[in-house]
Structure formats: C-alpha cells, structure tokens
Symmetry: C2
Subunit: 225 residues, 2 copies
Amino acid sequence: MEPTTVAPPPSDRTRIRRLPARGAYDRPVVDAILDEGLVCHLGFSLDGQPFVIPTIHGRLGDIVYVHGSAASRMLRHLRGGVPACLTVTLVDGLVLARSAFHHSMNYRSVVLLGAATLVESEEERMAGLEAIVDHVVPGRWPDVRQPNATELKATMVLRLPISEASAKIRTGGPVDDEPDFALPVWAGELPLRLAAAPLVPDARLAAGIAPPVCVTDYWRTRAAR
Amino acid sequence: MEPTTVAPPPSDRTRIRRLPARGAYDRPVVDAILDEGLVCHLGFSLDGQPFVIPTIHGRLGDIVYVHGSAASRMLRHLRGGVPACLTVTLVDGLVLARSAFHHSMNYRSVVLLGAATLVESEEERMAGLEAIVDHVVPGRWPDVRQPNATELKATMVLRLPISEASAKIRTGGPVDDEPDFALPVWAGELPLRLAAAPLVPDARLAAGIAPPVCVTDYWRTRAAR
C-alpha cells in the first residue's frame, strides 16, 4: 500500500515523522509529483507572519522555477534568498471507513525546502518560462508568440533547487478496526481526478483555427524529463 | 469578468496588491472557496524555516477547524497560537492565449491569516470533527461509528477564526495584445474540474451494503452553512 523508501531523507528537516511509512525521498517520486501538480503553494515569512500563496511552477532537471510580475511583493521578498517552502499536493481520492476516525484521503504531496534566488541570465529566464508553460500545457510553447523584451522586463523568474525535499503518499482503501467490520456501513475508496471539461474557444478566435492536440488530448500526468 | 469588491480588506496584510481587481473580501465569497476546497495548505514557521503542509479542514460558521494526531509536531507547534496562514486554492481552468506571456489560470483562492488555538471542550472537539468529515463528504457523519474516548484522546483539534481573510479569483478567457489576434494560434479556456471516478468498494465489504447517496452523488460544491 505504501511506497518502499529506498532513499534516505536529505535532511532532518524533511524527515517524515508522522506515519513515516508514507514517506519517500527518491527523486523520481518527488519529480513526478512536482510535475503533475498544476500549482504549488509557496510559503515564506514576512515580518514574522507566514504567508502561503498559490502559484504556477515548472521543473527543469534539478530546478523548480516560479515566475510573476517584476512588481510582485512576494517575489521581491523571496528573491533575497529567504527561507522558503514549496509544496505540491495531489488529491487522489477519499477513503471512506466504517468509523469517522479512520476516514482518510489518498494523496501525493511534496515539501521542498530551500531559498529561491533571482534568475539573471536571459537564457535561463527564457528556459524557466518555457518550463512553466510546458508544465501547464506540455507542447504549447512552440505554438505561441514568445516573450518579447518588454514582457521579459515585466517578468521575474526565480529558481529553487531540489536539494531538500520529501514526498508523502497514501494509497489504498480504509483500514478499519476489527470490530467495525460488522457494522452495516459502506466502506471503500472514492477516487478523484482532475478532468478537462469541453473547451471554450476565445470569443475572437478566427474561423478555421482548430485546437492543437496538446489541448484536445489534455491530461496531467507527464513523463519526467 | 472579475467579482465586484463590495467589502473592504479586513487588514492591510490581507489587502490584494497584485491585480487588485481580482480580490474579494466578502465572507460569502471566502466561505464558498473554503467549503469547496478539499484540502488547505497550512503555513507556519519553525526555527525560522517556513513549512507548508497540506491538511483537511472543515468550516463551521466563523471558525475553520483542522485536526490530526495528538503527537503531530505541526499541530503541537501551531496550538501555541503562533502566526499561521491557511490557504485554499481551487483550479478552475487553463487560460490559453496567443502569446506565452498572456497564458494564465482560472482559479479561486483564499488566504486566511491568524493564530490557531487548541479546542479544549469535548463538545466543540466533536463539532469540529463532524465539520471536517462533513466537509469532505457532506452527509457522511451520521452513517459512521462516532469517535470513542480512545480515538478522541489520540486526536487534536485546532480552531482558526475567519477574521483576516481575502479571496482572489480569476475567471474568463485570455486577454491578448491587439496585434496577436492576427496570429494563427488557437486561444481559449480549458476548464478543469475535480471528477469522481468509479467507486472501489472495500475488499471486506459485506454483501448487500450499497453505497449511500452522499457517496454515489458526490460533488464538491457545497451550500454555505
């Protein structure tokens, strides 16, 4: 039911303490979760107050990129190299037990600790932006107009190396107490998935432009790079 | 396209600075997002390091409840009333523009600042646990075995009042630059939703126990209470 932990935790801070059997530190496991999650939640402290802000990310090898407006208060604070936490969570299903206590959720999550730094080189900035667009819609980047100088100036790209990360995964059905199996209560798993609904073409879409395959065949699981 | 902001921000810390037209501070807007999101991301700092941990929540009126093992390091730290941030994000769709720069995401998010405190009274503890189960599967609580004394002892329930919260919402299609409309690029919205896949009954489910309506008709949008 739980993945086998074959890699040691990269640090004491990322060691899974609560239900350690659910923990994993393997890069392929971590990368697959980072790649499938559409958004991450970035945590940082400002004047002693923690903030958790959702944002889009993209991974390229050992680096997670995030981006935003050059005027963003969050990014301007983060780029100074302050301690940060980037978390990605995928909800896979609801676990319905016979007792309230044993209800649970099937999920995969990654917690990545580190410090984000500003990407300065134009080449890496462009690679980071491509990774982010490609993360959201694999295959979209070559089809669209690339960022111009004005847009690049208005955009900040930050990098966070994957050096201190852990994954936590729960799979499978409920684990009930033995006496509860006699109760007349339905138990099992309600799997959940992110599904694409019918496309909504832009109001000004010109006639004869069909949606590309990366849009019509959209799905979230992505092969690792 | 954007909601009208009819309520003032409850504090300077929750005022939306980036794209303020996307901000909302109305309780019904905030509550609907808190109620629809299956998980929240809890942020707190420990020894100067921010952590962002996914967890299940439940709302009852002006209070958001979270729970976990009485041994949980996170909860034991949080119950001391340290500054915390609870964020809920719903991804509603991908916004595909003609330029890379104008790609975006439709989403609804809530950022709630405050301090969590330990729920001491047995009555409120039970109400908080019911709110959490009912949050995940509305209507499930009365059907299952209630928590017993041992389970209650092993469970910590924390409360976080909704006093300093803001919502941020994006809806609608792409907003392209005028010259880009001439490009032969498909543009529009790819709506996404959380969908239930076929149920997986527990391996030890007794014959003749059908899944209840709250499970067979599962959907996430919940009426506010």
